[in-house]
């Protein structure tokens, strides 16, 4: 690898990181010929990679490239839309990664990989040399899947609110300002997309809120699918709480085969048109666009189709064995696109890198996804999924058990609390 001068090191790590390395990480180790692990993205996948890499290896240099100064978790953001939690409680800083795990954070956007030279170019002009590159930038949205919709509209009066942040607050304020008896339209995209139950959780939370403040208002989900995870639980909940199937239902789910797939937005008349020509008028229109791998992944030739393929043994990309792909951009079906999955993929990748650096075998990867979702503050559901390795060129094999619409109230009450518990614990596992 390239020679790094003391000045370079200070530029890279700052004086603090040089003097306060923990877990055995020291300035001496950095100055020696230790490997440089560069991570694109400071979200769940990227941050987990940095932390778990350090737990395994005190000597490697670890750098995260992330455009934002802090990270806002998506789990919990539907609570913010329905105004019973704040974005602040979902926000984490990178300070512990820096101070406790001696991770260097560069606030910039990664643009280009020079595969031959093993260098990463950043938007502001810096170039980083890497020995291993972990790519975890999250997904991008296909705004143009709905004619008339755009990134600008999503950042304006038609929030997608699918990354927790400013759009989440715009949507919250729009729900709060909904006229009496108004209509909220939510579109739910084709698979795969981040957090499969979230459109239905969001619709439930909004309907629950409207039930008290605006009881004649209505939520309509226009779906590009005919089925979704926890379908039975949500339909049961909507029947019990919101009169699903009655003329006064506060919530309505229109599946793809019933004409739910939305093709067009008319901003002037505030309408959505579906594939079969039906027109729905909405006072609030929340389009959740279909997704694809993040632009960094697509621009650097890591994706095939919408997502980036990888070797199942260690999540190294098909493009380059020293470049790894994890999180929502990876073509990881049957794994869903969840933070839980991204964090466990990070644990596999870091073990693989550490094994390689120390001349050992990677072993057999193993990944779980134990996810929670809510219909209400006291109505929770869980899915436990296991993914077993089935060969380097094959997808992982899945087994799962998920909640049903149980008659036992203890399950749904306690699972709701477990869901909230999990959100807090998860944030700490990645960033503390």
């Amino acid at each position: 690898m390239n020679k790094i001068t003391r000045r370079d090191l200070i530029k890279l790590f700052g004086t603090t990181a040089l003097s306060t390395g923990l877990m055995g990480a020291s300035s001496l180790a950095f100055a020696s010929k230790s490997a440089h692990i560069v991570i694109v993205g400071g979200g769940v996948g990227g941050a987990a990679s940095a932390k778990y890499m350090r737990l395994l290896n005190p000597d490697v240099r670890i750098t995260i490239v992330e455009p934002e100064p802090k990270y806002i978790f998506c789990p919990g953001s539907n609570e913010v839309v329905a105004d019973f939690d704040t974005l602040e409680s979902l926000t984490v800083d990178f300070n512990t990664l820096k101070s406790r795990y001696a991770v260097n954070i560069i606030q910039d956007r990664a643009t280009e990989i020079d595969y031959a030279a093993k260098k990463l170019k950043l938007a502001k002009g810096d170039v980083l040399s890497y020995d291993k590159l972990i790519v975890s930038p999250g997904p991008d949205f296909k705004y143009d899947a709905v004619e008339g919709f755009s990134k600008q509209l999503a950042e304006g009066n038609f929030p997608a609110a699918w990354h927790a942040g400013p759009q989440t607050l715009v949507l919250r304020d729009q729900i709060n300002a909904l006229p009496q008896g108004g209509t909220v339209l939510i579109t739910s995209p084709v698979d795969p997309y981040r957090c499969p139950p979230a459109p239905y959780e969001r619709a439930s939370f909004i309907a629950n809120k409207l039930k008290t403040v605006n009881p004649t208002a209505k939520v309509i989900i226009l779906d590009s699918k005919d089925d979704f995870i926890f379908h039975d639980v949500y339909l049961d909940y909507w029947e019990k709480m919101h009169g699903l199937g009655t003329p006064d239902a506060r919530i309505e789910w229109i599946s793809k085969k019933s004409g739910g797939h939305v093709t067009k937005l008319d901003t002037k008349n505030r309408t959505l048109t579906t594939a079969n020509g039906q027109v729905h008028k909405g006072d609030v229109i929340n389009i959740i666009p279909p997704e694809m791998a993040g632009s960094f992944v697509r621009m650097n030739g890591l994706s095939e189709g919408d997502w980036a393929p990888f070797n199942s043994k260690d999540f190294s990309t098909k493009r380059d064995k020293d470049v790894y792909i994890i999180g929502d951009s990876a073509a990881a079906d049957p794994m869903p696109k969840t933070g839980y999955i991204a964090s466990n993929q990070a644990k596999v990748v870091t073990k693989a890198i550490h094994a390689e650096l120390t001349g050992k075998d990677i072993g057999t990867p193993f990944i779980t996804n134990n996810c929670v979702a809510l219909a209400a503050d006291d109505w929770g559901m869980t899915v436990a999924e296991t993914f077993r390795y089935a060969g380097n060129n094959k997808p992982f094999e899945e087994s799962y058990i998920m909640s049903d619409p149980t008659k036992n109230p203890f399950y749904r009450h306690i699972r709701a609390e477990v869901a909230k518990n999990w959100q807090r614990t998860f944030r700490k596992d990645i960033y503390s």
Binding site: F84, M241, D377, D378, P409, F410, I414, A416, N421
Partner: protein, 232 residues
């Protein structure tokens, strides 16, 4: 009982949905007990059915944290085995009303779990746990003189009454004063600290907040080890 339970559970669920929020201390806030109110409630505790309590212990998911027969399998959960009927019954009432709420995390789970319990369910559970025995899992302690003094004599200067005067000479408890013998040490410590900083305030007259006010962490740890070493 069966139909009624379902209907009341659903009614409670609906009510709870409106009231609760994701924030801490957001469960329905309840009035503290007066002694008179408690005595009235105490006199009306239904006769519990132990075998129904045993079944509910499983079906209401108590067992998954509090262990087989109410003997806790982890350091987070208290053992319920061997505790007094009144204490268990009142604790469940206090969770249901939200009076016992030490912040999110563990209390939040218990508040959620208690929402669907009827008075009869609470009595069934309380009778079931009272019938179980709790064997100490900790080694026997040679009681240090300072800890023994706290247990038997208290500390007048710091207004600390002796633990044994309410919790019994062998930590066996009495009515709504819980048994401490064999209790999970970490739960004991957490509880004492919660009393100390007034996060737990559901005891009548809030005596525990006073008694713990000046206890040091070392004293709390020593008491936890001592009581964990006893059996009930």
């Amino acid at each position: 009982m069966k139909k009624t339970l379902l209907i009341s559970a659903l009614a409670l669920t609906t009510g709870f949905t409106q009231l609760a929020s994701a924030n801490e201390h957001a469960a329905p806030q309840a009035q503290a007990w007066t002694l008179q109110q408690w005595h009235q409630t105490q006199n009306n505790i239904p006769n519990g059915n132990i075998s129904k309590g045993a079944e509910l212990h499983k079906q209401a998911l108590c067992m998954t944290c509090h262990g087989e027969n109410g003997v806790a399998p982890s350091r987070n959960a208290p053992s319920l085995a061997g505790n007094n009927i009144d204490y268990t019954f009142k604790t469940l009432k206090d969770y249901q009303s939200g009076l016992r709420n030490e912040g999110h995390g563990k209390s939040a789970v218990m508040i959620a779990a208690a929402q669907s319990l009827t008075q009869q369910d609470m009595a069934d559970l309380a009778y079931f746990y009272a019938e179980q025995t709790l064997q100490s899992k900790a080694p026997a302690q040679a009681l240090s003189s300072s800890t023994e003094r706290l247990v038997r004599k208290g500390d007048v200067k710091r207004m600390i009454t002796p633990c044994a005067s309410c919790h019994g000479v062998h930590g066996e408890g009495n009515e709504i004063t819980p048994a401490l013998a064999g209790q999970t040490a970490h739960y004991f410590i957490r509880t004492m600290k919660a009393y100390k900083i007034k996060h737990r305030t559901n005891d009548i007259n809030q005596g525990m907040g006073q008694f713990t006010h000046d206890l040091t962490d070392e004293e709390i740890h020593a008491l936890a080890d001592y009581y964990a070493s006893l059996s009930k």
